[in-house]
């Protein structure tokens, strides 16, 4: 177990170093100059002189090797440097924004799980019945409608027509808890719908397969209550693939909530990454990608750990 964790840890470090190096290299291959971009926003004309001064202030005139070593040394100490744009330490911005993205994903995941697993189980136990048919059909539609479309429709319906919720934005929980939740509602439901469609399909298929096993027949035959059979023998065994999928989705969502964050003006991490890429804010881009990669690796690790909890036959 300890050995397993150590091996995983070493591999993770190596992967992070590779990711960091690739990101560093790619950023210098991609054209675009942060100093020039900052000074020419909205089509303003900047003199070469001003641009050169700003490049010096940003430290972009140093040799590439120096910049790379500075970056590695900094990253090893969790110091990602300051943003080239507003000079705020990148670590601070990530500490501020990452929890918002995680909050959004967890809220969506919560909604997806509490609806997806029961609905999937029910549909899987009674395949072909009206409930299964209706939900499966609705799900086929859901899966093919991208989040930014549902998002735009939600804003139109709930904010512009019904006026139930604000159109989008963000307020911290501490300053106004109620408004915070109202602003979270639509993006969380949008993420939740996406997860629901995946979890529902996975659960249904898995339950459908599990209920045909002979141990289920045995359990029913020995007179166990159906509730117990389903919970202990069917659903529990069906959870394996669901955990894998949910774990993977969590990682993917870290990077792909960007559209949803953009549409609802939710100031999370992936929105920050997109802006940073557009502005060629090198330190911010590197740091966000490293942090997201580290989280992705961590989630995969946790999924593997969870397998052994769900299925005691798997020993790590």
């Amino acid at each position: 177990m300890i050995r397993f964790a150590l091996n995983k840890g070493l591999a993770a470090l190596l992967m992070l170093w590779i990711v960091g190096t690739i990101v560093f290299a790619v950023l210098f291959i991609v054209p675009g100059d942060p100093a020039e971009l900052l000074l020419t926003s909205d089509g303003a004309v900047a003199s070469q002189d001003s641009i050169d001064s700003l490049r010096r202030q940003m430290g972009l005139d140093k040799p590439l090797a120096t910049q790379y070593l500075d970056f590695l040394a900094g990253a090893a100490r969790f110091d990602f440097g300051n943003s080239l744009i507003d000079h705020v330490p990148v670590g601070e911005t990530i500490a501020l924004r990452l929890p918002r993205t995680i909050e959004l994903i967890l809220a969506g995941l919560f909604l997806g799980l509490i609806t997806g697993i029961p609905a999937g189980t029910w549909a899987g136990l009674r395949p072909g019945r009206p409930f299964d048919q209706i939900v499966s059909a609705a799900n086929a539609v859901l899966i093919s409608v991208p989040g930014f479309v549902t998002g735009t429709l939600f804003i139109y319906l709930f904010a512009q027509v019904l006026r139930w919720l604000p159109a989008g934005g963000y307020v911290s929980f501490a300053s106004d808890p109620l408004l915070h939740l109202k602003l979270l509602a639509l993006p969380a439901v949008t993420v939740g719908l996406h997860l629901f469609s995946i979890i529902f399909r996975m659960t249904r298929a898995s339950v459908l397969e599990m209920r045909t096993h002979d141990w289920v027949r045995t359990a029913v035959a020995k007179g166990l209550r159906r509730k117990l059979v389903v919970r202990r023998h069917v659903v529990r065994n069906a959870l394996g693939p669901i955990v894998t999928v949910v774990g993977l989705q969590m990682g993917i969502l870290l990077g792909s909530t960007v559209l949803i964050e953009f549409i609802y003006n939710w100031p999370g991490l992936s929105g920050y990454l997109v802006t940073a890429v557009q502005q060629r804010d090198y330190p911010s881009v590197r740091a966000v990608i490293l942090v997201v990669s580290a989280l992705f690796i961590l989630i995969n690790f946790m999924v593997e750990m969870l397998y052994s909890v769900l299925d005691p036959r798997i020993r790590l």
């Binding site: 900052l38 000074l39 020419t40 001064s53 109620l178 509730k227 802006t275």
Partner: protein, 515 residues
Amino acid sequence: MPDNSGLTFKPSRRTVLTGIGAGMTAMALPGRTWAADGKTLRYGLSTFPPGLAPWNNTGASSNNVKLCLYRGLMGYDPEANLVPEVAESYDWPDPTTVVFKLRDAAVFHNGEPVTAEDVVFTFESIIAEDSSAYLKSSFLNIYKVEAVDAKTVKFSLKLPSAVFLKELANYCAGLVWKGSDAENPVGCGPYTKTSEERGVFIEVTKFDDFYGEGEPICDKILFTAYADQNLRYAALETGDVDVIEYLPWPQFDAVEQSETLKIGATVSPFMLMLFNVVKDGPFKDPKVRQAVGFAIQRQDVIDAAFAGRGTPLTGLPNPPGSPYNVTDPSIEYSYDPERAKKLLAEAGYPDGFSCRLLSTSTYGMHQDTAAVVQAYLQMIGINATLDLPDWATRVKKGKEGDFDIAVHGLSGFYNDPNALWPLLHSGPANYTRSFGFESARIDELLEKGRATMDEAEREAIYKELAKAYFEEVPQVPINWRAQAHAMQKPVKGFKAFPGWLNSSSAFSFDVSEPA
């Protein structure tokens, strides 16, 4: 009821109804308590300001906030007239000397009075060697700035300048207290920054010792960034904000017909084509560039890319509201494909040619304009391949001359033809000018226009410039595009400034009142 009812989590009716009831109650409660108290103007920005350094130009969003925090010697009144701002009055003893008298009441946010020394500090910092100030090159025309006494400051210019006062009124020329450290510049504007959540909002609060009498009217301005233009409009429609900038073109109709909203529109930036005239290709020949100018049906661009909101631009982009009239149909473009083909044939390309057309996918309007232009070029035999990288790459390609034709949008910051200087005067390669284009004739006219103070003489010079613009073809103009603020009907005082002054509209925050 089948017997599987107990097999899964099955919420009882009571649980569901309670949940829905609680949810609806929560939704119905009044929200936004943080923005509703006192007189707060809520303004929807198009992007979160990337920086608030007083002298760098970091875009329209930043400039709005900067005009709350910083003010310069000159400024604009709420009706967009150029007026002394922190200065009380000014005087030109001779064409290269200006003397400003500062307001007695002007104080910085730290309580220090605004003195001539602070003005000297500000302008010496702007033109310093390591400065990245937007107006550095303009203010290099300052030979010397000196404090005559505590409240009097004298500028000696190298050359006379007809636009010096307008440059001083720019949002990148705010006065800064001489004791400020570089990270925390202290200004003397009507508001101070009191709260901020990076990437989300900036709140500014009235500075009680501001020199303007009875101004500003609002106690607070809350700037919230809405990067998505449709959400920005939705936020206005639902009443989350009072004013938004950059109203998307397709929503103009909705706002004009709305009973609760109003629009403040002007034509401001213009769309144009730039060329690479260095490469040994067809565009080296001004006749080919002119041919392009006669090949475009301009109204189609306006309809396709700007929902019909704009006007064709057929000659020198003399800004709307400029004091001079330089129009002359004989030196302007029209849609005339026959003439375009004739010009191509004269240049030696009767059968046309192929080239690369650069624009950007970051901005839909640039991309759409490029697509229409491409179609019209096809009709006179020019096969243009679209190159649509992201904005950062587009800037770099423009600067390095990695294109044949480019479609672009540009603007200035005051309504005088001299604002075209950075777009037409030769200098180091820049993505806002045709690559490698240089014309001694245009340079000379621009220099003469700036150094001439007499209005009639200036008009004659700019008429000459319009002619040179047509004959030498540094750019091919396409259209003016409309730009609008939209606001709640009851909002008072806020004015969308006309033409290229639009980016200075934040001066009218001083007299703005929310709904």
